[in-house]
């Protein structure tokens, strides 16, 4: 006759399990709610307002900010700069990371040393890294000093229309290429050696082995690194602020820097929020597209 007692007991095994489960996810869940979803909702809310910090006014203006967004004469240039930066960064970063990973995946003396060297910038403070590069890229800086040694006259890197963007991209690539390199290395080491042996027996050359074995086998990692790098490239801020402040002209004013200028320098917090909604939309669409496309080219998803 144990059923009545059992029916009254509140903490059944199942309930305990559920509670434990919720407790385990609570830190992550609360963190996401407070630091992700709440701010995200607030940004949408702010984007519907005209918020003048100095005057202390916060007025509902409906879709006025979105109207201003569509008619902002500076926006096309900003989006173009953002696009150039992102494409340049992703292509350069991924190809360099993959190349480094292939070089360091061999059993040669010194590879551990070089892995450490290429990875170390990842753990260096971003601003410190960028400030050092600013000195190096000055007209009378280290980079031009080196070029001078071999008899070349370097351009004024951070001041030239094209070289400024190039400099920002390269500085950012060198900062983070180590992370992607390590991810590629891990993926390369997971490729079964038998596949290469079999292909060699079948008479496949190096290029063929790379294209038909390496790339498909590491394609999940290529997807991962490309998403991380694309999203990261859209968030670039400190490098721009330290190296070029968006100049010369507005050639390196990317979306996040423009957002910062509008909100924090020009005091247009409402419009700044609107720009961050636009950024959110862009990141969302790009990630969604990449996620959908994976079926077409990522090996294990086919």
């Amino acid at each position: 006759m144990s059923s009545p007692r059992g029916g009254h007991r509140f903490w059944t095994g199942r309930r305990r399990e559920v509670l434990a489960g919720y407790l385990f996810v609570a830190p992550q869940l609360i963190g996401s709610l407070v630091f992700v979803l709440l701010p995200l909702g607030l940004v949408f809310w702010y984007s519907l307002h005209e918020w003048n910090v100095l005057a202390g006014t916060f007025e509902f203006t409906g879709l006025d900010n979105y109207d201003a967004l569509l008619n902002d004469p500076a926006l096309p240039g900003v989006l173009a700069a953002t696009g150039v930066f992102s494409v340049g960064l992703v292509v350069f970063n991924l190809s360099l990371a993959l190349w480094l990973a292939l070089m360091l995946n061999r059993r040669l003396a010194g590879t551990t040393f070089f892995r450490t060297v290429f990875f170390s910038p990842v753990v260096v403070s971003l601003v410190a890294w960028t400030i050092v590069w600013r000195f190096l890229l000055q007209e009378n800086g280290g980079v031009n000093g080196l070029l001078d040694l071999v008899g070349m006259t370097g351009p004024n890197w951070l001041r030239g229309e094209g070289t400024a963007m190039l400099s920002v991209i390269v500085v950012q690539v060198f900062k983070n290429v180590g992370l992607n390199m390590v991810l590629f290395l891990a993926a390369l080491q997971g490729v079964p050696r038998e596949l290469y042996e079999a292909a060699t027996v079948d008479g496949a050359g190096r290029w063929r082995r790379f294209r038909s074995i390496t790339v498909p086998m590491i394609s999940p990692t290529i997807l991962l690194t490309s998403i991380i790098t694309v999203v990261g490239s859209l968030q670039v801020f400190a490098q721009i602020d330290v190296l070029t402040s968006g100049g010369p002209g507005t050639s390196t004013t990317v979306l996040v820097y423009y957002l910062y200028q509008q909100a924090f320098q020009f005091h247009h917090f409402g419009y700044g929020a609107t720009l961050s909604v636009l950024l959110f939309a862009i990141v969302f669409v790009l990630t969604f597209v990449q996620w959908q496309l994976r079926k077409k080219w990522v090996f294990h998803e086919q």
Binding site: Y46, N140, G249, H267
Partner: protein
């Protein structure tokens, strides 16, 4: 790491940018008779300055038991206004704040500051009428004073006499005596120094080919202005074209100023001349070279002076604006103003004499002070400022970038500046 996390993560970073600061509480404004602490935002981190501020604040706390603490909070000079407005947006506004002259119109006309006339005139022994109108003008609107002109520091030229001697160039005093203390001659001397010694010639400090408002120290000598009282852009006027043409030639033909993207620090002995504010004289305490201080050289339009100002205002959104304003009255009362004068040229007519300034400025002679500080403060033109300053500054900066290359078409670029900035001036 799972790739699917990247989207919310990205959003969080961005959203956080705007909102983390906005979620702050409104502070401890509840108790009307409770203890009060005040925070003053400043951009100096100089130990001697802060020690003097603390000393004055301690005296105030001793007389006002309710005030238990007054903190002077140094924010970095670069991006000071941005940091300040971010604090205000985040509900973490200081009670009092220094304000750059360039942000004066934005702060004064937005209603962010508490008017100070009453509290200052009613404070015993304050001598409100002693404040020079030339110094309060920028901080007033509709006859009311919104910030105290805490420091009115004229721009002047510091010269490295050792470098000049090395290059065989006459000293500034000799040039002045011969009536040759003009931009034309100074740039020619600077160019000689650059050629002979390998050091830089002239550095307009803090300009760095981005902080263009510092060029007012040059173009005012041509009678040029960034814009006039009715907000009409002045960059395309003949005087400005001539002044900027002169500067362009000095940089790219004579090499008299270090070019864009090149840095040179006068106070480290890397340049023959620098244009900066007198308050930077403290950097010369440990200078390993002989130096002199002179007024700005004359331009084609004659002699002139340019001043930079720091205002001290009480923020309306603070918890205790009335107490903060009372402290401001104490902080800037005559006897404290005289103390502060050793670092910050005062706005008081009675204290703005070479004798009083010299007694507290061991580095500078009475003559140097009379010619630069006293004369400059009374007659000086304040650096350009306008409502919406930051956006205007960025817009002009972006357009002027085209000027800082050897083959620039000066009149065309300056025309473009006006084309881009006039809509902002019209707002």
């Amino acid at each position: 790491m799972r790739p699917s996390m990247s989207t919310p993560l990205a959003a969080a970073t961005l959203a956080g940018l705007l909102t983390l600061t906005a979620c702050g509480g409104s502070g401890s404004g509840g108790d009307p008779d409770g203890p009060v602490s005040l925070r003053v935002a400043v951009w100096t981190a100089n130990d001697a300055h802060l020690a003097l501020f603390d000393e004055i604040a301690d005296a105030y706390i001793a007389e006002h038991p309710r005030v238990e603490k007054i903190t002077f909070d140094p924010l970095p000079f670069d991006g000071y206004t941005t940091a300040l407005t971010t604090q205000i947006a985040g509900g973490n506004a200081p009670d009092l704040a220094w304000i750059f002259e360039s942000s004066a119109p934005d702060f004064v006309s937005s209603g962010a500051l508490v008017p100070l006339d009453e509290v200052l005139t009613e404070t015993e022994g304050y001598a409100f009428d002693d404040l020079l109108p030339a110094t309060t003008e920028l901080w007033s609107e509709d006859g009311r004073l919104f910030a105290y002109p805490f420091s009115t520091s004229p721009f002047a030229v510091f010269a490295n006499l050792d470098l000049l001697a090395e290059a065989g160039v006459p000293t500034p005093a000799e040039m002045r005596g011969a009536g040759e203390w003009t931009w034309e001659e100074v740039i020619s001397a600077a160019s000689t120094v650059a050629g002979e010694t390998g050091a830089s010639g002239m550095v307009i400090r803090d300009f760095d080919y981005t902080g263009w408002d510092y060029l007012a120290t040059l173009w005012t000598g041509w009678d040029a202005r960034a814009w006039d009282e009715s907000s009409v852009c002045g960059f395309d006027r003949p005087e400005m074209v001539e002044a900027m043409g002169f500067l362009h030639e000095a940089v790219f033909e004579h090499g008299a100023l270090p070019g864009p993207g090149t840095s040179a620090d006068f106070f480290a002995g890397e340049a023959a001349y620098t244009v900066t504010q007198i308050s930077r004289a403290s950097l010369l305490e440990e200078a390993g070279f002989a130096w002199d201080l002179l007024p700005l050289p004359a331009g084609p339009a004659g002699e002139y002076a340019v001043i930079g100002q720091a205002g001290l205002g009480v923020l309306r959104v603070g918890d205790h604006p009335d107490i903060a304003a009372d402290f401001l009255a104490h902080f800037t009362a005559p006897e404290n103003s005289a103390e502060l004068a050793q670092y910050f040229p005062p706005p008081r007519a009675s204290q703005l004499t070479a004798e009083t300034l010299a007694s507290s400025n061991p580095l500078l002679t009475e003559e140097q002070l009379r010619e630069t500080v006293v004369a400059g403060t009374v007659s000086g033109v304040v650096k350009p400022s306008h409502l919406g300053q930051e956006q205007i500054a960025q817009t002009v900066r972006a357009q002027l970038d085209a000027l800082w290359r050897p083959d620039a078409d000066v009149p065309a670029v300056l025309g473009d500046v006006c084309g881009a900035v006039q809509p902002l001036l019209d707002r």
